[in-house]
Symmetry: C4
Subunit: 231 residues, 4 copies
Amino acid sequence: MMKFTELRREAYEANMEIEKQKLAIYTFGNASAFDPEAGVFAIKPSGVPYAELSPQAMVLVDLDGKVVEGDLRPSSDTPTHAVLYREFSGVLGITHTHSPYGVAWAQACEAVPIYGTTHADHLTEDIPCTEVMRDEAIRNNYEIETGNQIVQAFRGLNPLEIEMVLVACHGPFAWGKSAWKSVYNAAVLEEIAKMAWLTRILRPGTPRLKESLKRKHYDRKHGKDAYYGQA
Amino acid sequence: MMKFTELRREAYEANMEIEKQKLAIYTFGNASAFDPEAGVFAIKPSGVPYAELSPQAMVLVDLDGKVVEGDLRPSSDTPTHAVLYREFSGVLGITHTHSPYGVAWAQACEAVPIYGTTHADHLTEDIPCTEVMRDEAIRNNYEIETGNQIVQAFRGLNPLEIEMVLVACHGPFAWGKSAWKSVYNAAVLEEIAKMAWLTRILRPGTPRLKESLKRKHYDRKHGKDAYYGQA
Amino acid sequence: MMKFTELRREAYEANMEIEKQKLAIYTFGNASAFDPEAGVFAIKPSGVPYAELSPQAMVLVDLDGKVVEGDLRPSSDTPTHAVLYREFSGVLGITHTHSPYGVAWAQACEAVPIYGTTHADHLTEDIPCTEVMRDEAIRNNYEIETGNQIVQAFRGLNPLEIEMVLVACHGPFAWGKSAWKSVYNAAVLEEIAKMAWLTRILRPGTPRLKESLKRKHYDRKHGKDAYYGQA
Amino acid sequence: MMKFTELRREAYEANMEIEKQKLAIYTFGNASAFDPEAGVFAIKPSGVPYAELSPQAMVLVDLDGKVVEGDLRPSSDTPTHAVLYREFSGVLGITHTHSPYGVAWAQACEAVPIYGTTHADHLTEDIPCTEVMRDEAIRNNYEIETGNQIVQAFRGLNPLEIEMVLVACHGPFAWGKSAWKSVYNAAVLEEIAKMAWLTRILRPGTPRLKESLKRKHYDRKHGKDAYYGQA
């Protein structure tokens, strides 16, 4: 029970950070925090404005998407979160936003090209964009299929190295080793997406960052001899 | 009398939200709240800065645009509000803004194309743009004719499903089942208009969202089996 | 003396509004308030950050640009203000900013085209842009010549109807019937310049607003039968 | 010891200004303050969010990049700062940011063209952009080589007159006669970069500011007969 108290608090704080970082307005967007031992995650209730949230309002859900604890209906995107927790082992937090530059690339159905070191500080590939969902999948179980689309986009990619994605025609999902880290990654996605948008419009033929710079920046933060941050 | 107290308060809070959401500067923009039983709406006084508003400053007006109660002159756009309350049954609040991305599409005389699910969460069509008003109508009764232009743009469209419009060369009007909902819709309009602007500039040929995704997103929030929000 | 106390306060409040409306960063920009009977205006001291301003810090200057009262050196743009107060009878406040959209049009040496009613609510012409100053004038007395350039750009235009201008390669000046009104006009200029920028990029061939709409919007706020605002 | 207390405080305040001016999010960016007599500079610790900084958390480092005092690991960009303090005599503060418009020009590998007087108030040349680093240099000692790239870009330029640079594919560095002045210059860089971006997109062929205007604006602030600011 105390464990869930902490999990609710983590999810609550991540959700509040979505609004603070201006990654969504009103009730748009949602974040969750996962407890892998209990097989349970805490997520934003559906359609509730950020100003009305509290740790107690978070809904606890298992990996089948069933409510375990909580009076409110969970986010309509809950099944997408459940798929990602099941498939991306090691992920402990997920954030979904409608931040405008991320959405613009998603609506253009284009991956965000890696143009500079701000991007490479976080990942060495373009921010992937899923395929547009087929009509059959949309009619089937839309939110589960959204998770499946993301999983499919990560065939051959490591979700612990690339902690963000664009769902085509929709918008950003990000994740990480905590709920807080997932919303941090959602904010980074928006910042990188904005920089890439400004770069593309300024000079349409800008080439991608070269391999040596990508590796250098990623490895100094995330490689085995990383020297960024405190030990 | 107490009913009007409440109506003034609703109109006041919606007007203050216009400024809080940065949908207009200084005295631009206005919101109103309608009481259909009394046939009266409360609206912002003309030319008064947001910082100086109070519930008491709201002006009560009937559907002929005549002042029923209040010391101040009502918004110059009052006759437009009156036309919409008369013609769009079920609408209980209206907001007019000069938000910059909405204005940009209006000045370009172009509907905001539906490019993604953020848009489809709220309406399944482009945000309509009226015709440019004819000179005769401008000379006639401009603010009433602005309402007429909007009504005309909704021939064949349902104003309870599409709760927003661009008046060509002018800017956004939004409405809803409460004054608060109308300003929410005005903020959504600006957010969608910004995302569409960024998408169009990034990839000029971006196609509209396909039918199946439009229906899915709209229906999960607004359809008969809607599962977004709290019951 | 009390008169100047009031004049200093007006100038101070207008300067603080420059920062509040984000029309300039750090020490950029300046505002002044004019007392036509005394032939004196109060202006921001040169190079002092907004956070360090006070009514007492304002410098009192006559129309020859000579300091009448005050311990600090006045804004380096003081001679430009003096020219405008001398030449534009009826102007009681002037604001100069470096707001980014206004500067962009000024750097492109292009007037801001009148695309919509937000613009026409304030003026019925494009926001004028001066000629680029000739080298001889630059070597002569630059700040006085900046004023002269503005006066020249207004040959045939009424500065009490068009209360704003772009100085080519430089940025915006705005004025009005009070210091406060001048900074209001500087904020309006930036908002209109942003809307026009977004419109131009969205649809490069957008035509100017037609005559009937220009007149209607301007006259309902400023014409002899104006019905905007409180009587 | 008291001297270092002051140095830490200066570095701390400059770092906090990075966040206040929105020049970087979360842990991005860093600022340092240099004491040339002691041959020591105080710099932000690596990977610590701005909200958690304090004067005590600043790390003291000598010009070989060795930690002199402090419990935390210094910014990973410390060797770049050390190179610049060694090579650019007279510089007493350095700021590195990831501000979006500055990054956009850096990712496009293009100097920011001098289009107007806001730019010329601070420098009379384009904001230089370094060469893209060679693979060998990246493998060698990346952060030292970043400093070397900057020094190389300043062959024939005076770093006391041009106090800012873009590192290609990376982002802005700025410096000045104090830590505070360096972050001021970083904010100016972003403002100028934004204005230039807006100008370029509005009118792609915009010519650079002419020589006479460049000299006039720079000299009135920085020349021997400067008359901007207080004596």
